[in-house]
Symmetry: C3
Subunit: 340 residues, 3 copies
């Protein structure tokens, strides 16, 4: 289904292979040796394609889908159309993600340094790197093996980048150490000056920002997001954390492992997030807060107080989720009544 | 009025020419052969300049303006100062826009490829293109005639760009097809990986993003905005849609024709907008919504439900505009009373 | 304390020197000739380092700190651990900022033009400038002495940049005049087309944007922020104003002197701010407003009316701060009660 102009499909895979990849069981009656060529959404899939059902909303589409195979929760198996091979798992979206990775593995980095790239003689470049046209790598930078430095990206002096990391076009990295397998998308800004100054009646007095940005392994940072360097302490992004587009991470912020920060959210200086925290889109967290492990912040929330482990908050100013929802519902009811 | 360092004024134009351009009628008594040199605001304009009145607020300025000519609704004609030539139309701002375009037409693209631009041998470049210094055009990209690729911009492999389109400095386009006459401003990111993964207790499992971004004709995308590519379906921007700065468009989003998305708004994955939808600044739309034709979303609104054709919503969570306004007014009254 | 890979510390300084730099008095008993090597936070500092106490919250840390010297308000002096040299001032954070600047002065620009930079023959470059790899400076641009143009940055035709200004990597400046000592961070977009058009039933009619951006002296603009050029009038940023990351400044906006605009805030077209206005993070100001000198806008506020001199507003739609806070508190109480 994917446009061959941009993507190359792998496979085919047998149903047995797909079951293993997806961590699923083949439902009785299906041919484990049957082969499949591609993935596709339920409504578009044909007999040689694999689809998935993850959301109750799409059961009707599932019931009439022409997909040859489908990854599905056993609870919905009985709604399957006749002849569809079923891959049963309690985690169908996870299964689909793994199958999709098999059909569309991330293309390996094609090594080579474009002659227009500018690599300082004192920079170190690992084996198998690709450095695209116009990219700039400054003195003392150390780039691990098999990294991709996109066209017109800039790697500042002394920056360290782990193996198998990819930096998108026109991104810039300064004052930072980044781990392995990072995905730094186009236009990301890492390591700019934190917004630090003393506000005095006679003007603003700049505070030097002499910390770094430390990014763990397996981190993704979305297009045009910004991560400022620390004031003295470092700004830290934990392993496996994923950050969406246009997100602002202030100086000295610490994100735990496996956090998710959705588009246009912002986290102000020195706030600390535990592992697995989810910050939804356009939420804002003020500075110097502590957000406990596994906490969730709703979209557009304005968080001004600490959030305990496992807590969930919403609204601006943010409150525990049940309080916020009651308040919103109450106001909505009242407004409707007044309008009658 | 415009700084000649940056802009070149055309003209002069006769009052008759201006009337034709603006779609206006010359009020009785004015000399259709009189010429005018430039546009200017009411307060600054002189006898050889054309101004306009579009907002009742500025009637007093109009009444004492020294502008030689003014584009104005007939309803205000009687307030005009003596000797001012009037161009009468019910749509004075439209008239002004057209007249301003006549005085300041978009400069044509001056063809030429800077020797420092890096154009892959397998890329195709139409006639009359301008490719500025440091721009990179990758293999299999196809650039239509008379396009402008700004300094240090990056056009990724296979990207298609229609005729007369302009890409600003340091912008990057990947995995996309863009129509004719596009205005892609500086720092825009088109085609980055959508923010897709399965969230599992044992971590995040990445979902490959193998869709494209399809941008129609006559589309504008503002500085540093981001438009992610689809998961499998495409992300689509309809003809004539205008997007402001720092806007986030998630994967699989579909925007209709002639939509307007104002600065810092965000639209999450798979949401669909009909034609002519207006999303005001800093509004956020959650995923998988359907926003009907001509709907309007107020600034900072947080939209979590479908909006019907022609609907108007505001607040976070968003409600129909009258409900939102009553709620806000009610709360404001109450707060004031409590404070007495 | 700072990573020598990225930062170079100056000094050492005697206590007497530090007192003079900080505008502080040495508390009785301390040795004015004692020397110190660096700055450090209270909890990490050792006997050869200088720290500060600015926030009552950290008094306990102060009381057991091993810092050799500390900048502190006289009110807390009696809580100091034995042997700590005290630098007394009513403005300890300001004092710290100045001391930190002494230990970590901004490194001077190392002059030189990278051979891959592209400088038009008709551009003018002052003495002592540094132009990094891949930077592009167009015709008629005028760059003052000792400026730094970062890697892959783009200075458009006719742009004027004052002395000692610094432009970050991949930033782009067009249609603007920027004063002296500016800090324009990476990815900033100055001078793109303002989002101006007439919205008509039959479509959008573009309004040419023929104004400039005028940036005063000592201005900072954060990473990936955008400042659009004016419609005819200019967009103006006053002297000493500091703008954080991902901020949107619309066309014709005027910011006074010494304003602070925090991350992800947005200011719509033609709004005017007096001197010393503070706009907190993610706040939005609609167009054509007047915000008085010294006014404060809270985080996430949505300002739709003028704010008087010295005013403070919060909430969306924004209200005077006391009204907003009462409303929020009232709603919170009510929601809690309903939930019991």
């Amino acid at each position: 289904m994917a446009d061959p102009r941009f993507f190359t499909v792998s496979g085919p895979f047998t149903l047995a292979q797909l079951a293993k990849i997806a961590g699923a069981e083949i439902a009785p009656g299906a041919d484990a040796a049957a082969t499949f060529d591609d993935i596709a959404p339920l409504a578009a899939a044909g007999p040689r394609q694999v689809s998935f059902l993850d959301n109750r909303r799409y059961v009707e589409q599932f019931a009439v889908s022409k997909a040859g195979a489908c990854i599905v929760d056993p609870a919905f198996a009985e709604r399957a159309p006749k002849g569809m091979a079923l891959l049963l798992t309690k985690r169908p979206y996870r299964g689909y993600a793994l199958v999709a990775q098999a059909f569309y593995p991330r293309p390996p980095v094609a090594p080579g340094v474009d002659p227009t790239a500018v690599i300082d003689a004192k920079a170190r470049l690992g084996a198998g790197c690709r450095v695209e046209a116009g990219a700039v790598i400054a003195a003392q930078a150390e780039i691990g093996a098999r990294c991709l430095i996109g066209a017109n990206a800039v790697i500042g002096p002394g920056v360290v980048l782990g193996e198998d990391s990819r930096v998108g076009a026109c991104a810039s990295l300064h004052f930072c150490r980044v781990g392995a397998r990072a995905l730094i998308h186009s236009g990301v800004r890492i390591g700019e000056r934190g917004f630090g100054f003393a506000m005095e009646p006679d003007g603003l007095v700049e505070v030097p920002q002499v910390g770094r940005v430390i990014v763990g392994d397996d981190v993704e940072i979305g297009a045009n997001s910004t991560v400022d360097r620390g004031t003295g302490p470092d700004t830290v992004i934990g392993d496996g954390t994923r950050i969406d587009n246009l997100v602002q991470i202030g100086h000295n912020v610490q994100l735990g492992r496996g956090c998710v920060v959705v588009a246009q959210a912002g986290i102000a200086g020195s706030t600390k997030l535990g592992d697995g925290v989810v910050i939804a889109a356009q939420a804002g967290l003020t500075g110097h807060l502590s957000i406990g492990k596994g906490a969730r912040v709703a979209a557009q929330a304005g968080v001004m107080r600490d959030v305990p482990e496992g807590g969930a908050v919403g609204g601006s100013p943010a409150q525990p989720m049940p309080v916020y929802l009651r308040g919103a519902a109450f106001l909505a009811r009242l407004s409707k009544r007044k309008g009658e």
